[in-house]
Subunit: 330 residues, 2 copies
């Protein structure tokens, strides 16, 4: 019997939703703009709308529930999203209650941190499939992370484990948006990386990026850096190698602490692929105790942003498993 669930990736720009079948993966997807400027109630309407559109597009298919990956804090029973940093005016909203009321009373609804959802997606559908345990790093606007240990999300005490972005690699280094000096996000977060690139590229006056990235290179994005580096731009290559080296330092600390030696890197900036990952693979070994260096792997997530939706849907499948187990026992 096929098992269907909806996976939603609640981003600051778009809300993406997918119909996912447990074995087959992503069946169809749809996306609406989040329009956070119109307030929390509006965003809630958009979530209901995009979920409804996925349901409508799958007549006759029994959809067991909806999983939602969202930035910010999730309560321990994974029903509510609390003060998401990218949706102003959203305080504490119980998404389970809202979606059950407005869509279907018997829908399972689970909310999870977006990096955790992406890691779960990678574990079951993406680059993480061959591994019982791995560390997921997402390089996007910020730097996120998650830990998969023995096929489940390691959540820590309150569900917030995996905040790799705020781990320091230089106690006296540049300060990230959370106030942490030398946090890896202060090197690889999109805004920080672009600023570093703008300054570093002053040493490469022949780089075409001086023309392509607008006045004072204000429009420079990591994607433009990747593209330029792929085309052989020395300055862009230098910037990405610098970023990869820093990433490796931080991942070394993670491996020392967790003894989990497979790293999967996702998020927009990871599209740079080996331009970032190859320098990271070199530096990471210098930041790990020798006894733990064997078998260290840094891999690129191949499914891109789809893993977020896939993992969100998988939360529902996990829940169904739990229910099946407990009814077997009783």
């Amino acid at each position: 019997m096929p098992h269907y669930a909806i996976g939603i990736d609640l981003g600051g720009t778009n809300i993406k939703a997918a119909l996912v079948e447990r074995s087959e993966g992503l069946i169809s997807a749809s996306s609406v703009p989040t329009e956070t400027d119109q307030g929390a109630a509006h965003v809630l309407d958009r979530i209901v709308e995009v979920a409804q559109s996925v349901i409508d597009a799958a007549p006759g298919k029994h959809i067991a529930g909806i999983g939602i990956g969202a930035p910010g804090t999730i309560n321990w029973d994974r029903t509510s999203l609390i003060y998401p940093p990218n949706i102003p005016g959203w305080e504490v909203i119980n998404l389970r209650e809202v979606l059950q009321k407005r869509l279907r009373k018997d829908l399972h609804v689970i909310v999870e941190n977006d990096a955790n959802a992406a890691a779960l997606g990678s574990a079951h559908y993406g680059a993480g499939r061959p591994y019982d345990s791995f560390i997921m790093v997402t390089l996007g606007t910020g730097v996120g992370g998650a830990i998969i240990h023995q096929n489940t999300i390691f959540r820590g005490t309150t569900g917030a484990a995996g905040e790799i972005g705020h781990m320091t690699i230089d106690y006296d280094g540049p300060i990230d948006q959370a106030g942490v000096a030398g946090a890896i996000e202060a090197y690889l977060g999109q805004r920080f990386l672009s600023r570093h690139a703008r300054y570093q590229l002053l040493n490469y006056p022949d780089s075409p990026l001086h023309q392509d990235a607008g006045p004072e290179m204000k429009d420079l994005t990591p994607a433009m850096l990747s593209e330029a580096a792929s085309a052989g731009d020395e300055g862009a290559t230098t910037v990405l190698a610098w970023a990869g080296h820093k990433l490796g330092c931080c991942l070394g600390s993670c491996i020392n602490l967790l003894d989990i030696r497979t790293i999967i890197v996702g998020g927009g900036v990871s599209a740079a692929g080996d331009l970032i990952l190859e320098p990271a693979r070199k530096s990471v070994l210098h930041y790990i105790k020798p006894g733990l260096r064997e078998g260290v792997k840094i891999l690129q997530e191949t499914l891109g942003n789809e893993v977020g939706m896939l993992g969100a849907a998988y939360l529902v499948f996990e829940l169904l498993d739990t229910h099946a187990h407990s009814s077997e026992r009783s």
Copy 2:
């Protein structure tokens, strides 16, 4: 019915063994010099000897097994100690086989990393008792660590998790004995801390440590620093505050990654207590994402080095529990 086990702490200087009763804790203890210079076979004899002496001192008490905390790598089924760094000539020795053969065939024997054993001891008998989850840091010759998550040791993929000592806080910092730049051990490891103190104290010519610590202060130990600082020595206080600040930076990274907010600090250097821990409590908050700062605690282990033996013995009690559960099920 009382439950007895022997807990052994296999150190480079001494082998300490204790008779432990599950509820009452440490009943009696004994210690022999390790004499590593006489080779692995001799050390093995010493282990057997000290265990036998504990057995002899407890006539009529049924001792279920022996747990051993040892530095170095332990195999996954926790029977063998592999290349311990402080016992030259010791390659791979199956301690279960040896102790069962030479002491009693039905003894349970379990070997565990010494930091993990100390954490387990703290969890069941020491400062860790009120907490389901905590991070243990041991400040001794080196800096060790362990993770207790939901009352059990988090072992990672190969059992080597918790290598906090080699986590970097400055990717371009001083290099520790494992080759890792800016590793916390390169600040707080005994040799590194003493060297830093010798140089820092040049700025404090009136410190009595210039007399007490021998020519060029070559005999300076962390214990002498603690003592001097407790007596009001400004130079020694400055050194310990510097060390505590660095410790806090590293612990911040651990908390971001694990979302485990209770830290217990043990090991010889932790005898400095608040002289190190108070500066760590201040700096740690600057190295954690704001959402995770609430409830962060850095505590001193109050049982001292006893936790290692207690935790080693507890490995046996855990094993008995597992056996009891599986015989209930079958």
